[in-house]
Amino acid sequence: MTRQPDRGALLSVDDLVVQYRRPGAPPTRAVAGVSLEVRAGEVVGLVGESGCGKSTLARAVCGLTPSEEGSISFDGTPVRPLGVRRRDPALTSIQMVFQDPYGSLNPRRRVGAQIADGIRTAAGRGEDVDGATPEDLLTRVGLPADAATRYAQEFSGGQRQRIAIARALAARPRLLVADEPISALDASAQLHVARLMRSLAVESGAGLLFISHDLSVVRLIADRIAVMYLGQIVETGITAEVWDNPRHPYTQALLAAIPQPDGAGLLPAELPGDIPDPAAPPSGCRFHPRCPRAFDGCDREVPLLSDDGVACRLYPAAA
C-alpha cells in the first residue's frame, strides 16, 4: 500500500475504500484499503470468496459505485462516479462485462443495435471505426453474423455472454473489467468464454481485470493474480508463482479446497468458520480467527501488503 504507483499502469487503484451505508447501522467497508494496478495488455485475476468485496471493487473501478477514500485513476484520468450526465468520453475506454448473461442485454432491442452502441462510443471518442460492424464483432466472438438481427433471448447463456463481450469490445476498450463473467455459464462454456476474453484483450493490447471465484480458470488466463479476503488484498503475484507456492494461509486454504477431478476420491481440505461480517471485521489481521497458522499478535497487528505481495506476519521479510 505504500508502494509507488507504477508509471506504466493503465489502471491504478490506490488505497481505495468503498463503503455501503445502511440505515441504522454503521457503514460497511466492502473494500477496505485496496491498491491494485493493471497494465496495458496484462490480465489480472482477482479472486476471493463471495462477500470479499471483489465485485464492489470492480464497480468502483468503472465508476458505478462511489468511493469513500483513496483514488482510482485510469491513464491519468481520475475515475468519477457516474451521474445523470454522460460518462466522460475518456472513461468510455473502460468497459465492463457482467456476471448475469441474462441481465446484460436489453431484451427489447436487437443484438446488432446494441453492439452498434459500442461502435458509436468508440467513434465518439474519435477512434477510427471505419468498416467496424456488429457482424464483424459477432464473428470475432465466435457467433454467426446473422445473430445481429435477433434478440437476446434467442441465445443461450454462453452465447449471450459472448454478445455482451462483443458489445464491450465494440467500444474499443483499453481496460476491460469482467465481474464473474463465467460463473453463470455451463461448465463447458466457462473455459471457452474465459479464454476468448483473454485472447481478445491481449490481441487488442487492452488490460483485463478478470474477477472470479473460480481459481482454476483464473489460473489459466491471468498473468497476475490478486487474492482478496474481507475487503483487502492478502496476496498478489505472478499467477504460476502464487499457484505453485501460495504464501498467505488464506491462499493456501483456497487452493487446497478445490476438488480435483482426478478420480482419486480425495476430500478437499475444509477452511473452518465463516467469513466474518464486513461491518465488524476482526481486529488485527482480518483472517486471524480462521487462520490455521495464526500466532501471538495476529489479533492485534494489521499486516500490510509487502513489496513481494503478501500481507501476512509469517513473512516478516516484508517489514
Binding site: E49, S50, D186, A187, S188, L191, H192, H213, D214, L215, S216, V217, R219, L220, P246, P249, Q252, A253, L254, L255, A256, A257, I258, P259, Q260, P261, D262, G263, A264, G265, L266, L267, P268, A269, E270, L271, P272, D274, I275, P292
Partner: protein
C-alpha cells in the same frame, strides 16, 4: 496444515468420519436393519435401494411434446454416492425430479423407478406423497430459496417432522436439534430459534440437508448441492455429505456438473448427454480412463486438465 491434502487424510477421509458426525450418529439409531453401511470407498455392493430402468420422459412443448429422457438406467445403493454428471439440459435434474414425482403437469413417463421393489411411476399420487420425504428426499442448489425466509429453522424442521412422522411438539423439537447437530450446526438448540438469513450460505445448505434428512429417507437426491457455495465452504459440505452417507447408509444421487466435486465424494459416476446416460462406472475409472468420447470431452474442457 491445510495447504495440501496428506495421503493419510485422503485415504481415511471418508471412513474416519470426523468425530462430529460420529457423535451425532448415536442419535439416529432409527436406521433399522436391512441397510448395511458399506463404509468408505470400497467396491462392495449392497442391494439396490432405488433402481431406475428405461426411464423416458416427454414434456409438453410448443408443438406437441419433447422427449427429455431417452431411457435412463441408474442404480442407487445404500451407503453409496452415485454421481450424475452432464451439462445443463442433459436431463440430469429431470431424472431427479422424476424419482420424486415432481414433474411438471403434462409430463409423460415410461419405464420403471423401483424403490425397494415398488414402482414409483405407477404409484397413486397419495401413496407417492407419503413416500416422498420419508423414503426419497431432495435438496437443491440454492439454500436461500429452498428455506422459508419468514419461519425459524426450528419451525421448518418441526413442521416437517410433525407432519410426516406424527411426532409431538416436544419430540419433534428434540429430533430437530439432533438433526442440526448431525449436520454440525453449532449450538443446535439455539439455532432452532433463528431465521435462515441469520446463517451463512454454507450453514443454510447444512440446514437444507438436515431438513432433507428429517424423515430418515433412504435415498437423498442432491441437485448441485454445492454449486452456489464458495470452495472453502463447499469442502465442508462435501465432507458432511460423504460422512452422512457412510454413517446412515444413505443412498445419494449427486447431480452436479462439477467433476471435481464428483471425484471427491462419488463412488459411481454416470455421465448424461441429451437425455441419455452415455457412460456409467466406478468414479476412478470414469474420470481417469473414460470410455465414451463425450466424457473425454468433458474432462478435457476442465481447466485443470488442459494444461497438465
Amino acid at each position: 496444515m491445510t495447504t495440501t491434502e496428506t495421503p493419510e487424510e485422503a485415504g481415511g477421509g471418508t471412513a474416519a468420519a470426523d468425530s462430529g458426525i460420529a457423535a451425532a450418529d448415536s442419535g439416529t439409531a432409527a436406521n433399522e436393519g436391512g441397510i448395511a453401511a458399506t463404509g468408505g470407498g470400497t467396491a462392495e455392493k449392497g442391494a439396490a435401494v432405488l433402481e431406475i430402468s428405461g426411464l423416458t420422459l416427454d414434456l409438453p412443448a410448443e408443438d406437441g411434446t419433447k422427449r427429455i429422457l431417452h431411457g435412463v438406467d441408474l442404480t442407487l445403493r445404500p451407503g453409496r454416492i452415485h454421481g450424475l454428471a452432464g451439462e445443463s439440459g442433459s436431463g440430469k435434474t429431470m431424472t431427479g425430479f422424476a424419482v420424486l414425482g415432481l414433474l411438471p403437469p403434462g409430463a409423460r413417463t415410461t419405464g420403471r423407478i423401483a424403490f425397494e421393489g415398488t414402482d414409483l411411476l405407477t404409484l397413486p399420487p397419495r401413496q407417492l406423497g407419503a413416500l416422498r420425504g420419508r423414503a426419497v428426499s431432495m435438496m437443491f442448489q440454492d439454500p436461500s430459496t429452498s428455506l422459508h425466509p419468514m419461519l425459524t429453522i426450528g419451525r421448518q424442521l418441526t413442521d416437517h417432522l410433525r407432519h410426516h412422522l406424527k411426532l409431538d411438539r416436544k419430540a419433534a423439537r428434540a429430533r430437530a436439534a439432533e438433526l442440526l447437530g448431525q449436520v454440525r450446526i453449532p449450538n443446535p438448540l439455539e439455532a432452532l430459534g433463528r431465521y435462515p438469513h441469520q446463517f451463512s450460505g454454507g450453514m443454510r445448505q447444512r440446514i437444507a440437508i438436515a431438513i432433507a434428512l428429517a424423515c430418515e429417507p433412504k435415498v437423498l437426491i442432491a441437485d448441485e448441492p454445492t454449486t452456489a457455495l464458495d470452495v472453502t465452504v463447499q469442502a465442508g459440505v462435501l465432507r458432511l455429505l460423504r460422512g452422512l452417507c457412510d454413517d446412515l447408509g444413505l443412498a445419494v444421487l449427486l447431480v452436479t456438473h462439477d467433476l471435481g466435486v464428483m471425484s471427491a465424494i462419488a463412488d459411481e459416476v454416470s455421465v448424461m448427454r441429451h437425455g441419455r446416460v452415455v457412460e456409467t462406472g466406478p468414479r476412478g475409472r470414469v474420470l481417469t480412463e473414460p470410455h465414451h468420447e463425450y466424457t473425454r470431452t468433458l474432462l478435457d474442457a476442465l481447466p485443470g486438465r488442459s494444461t497438465v
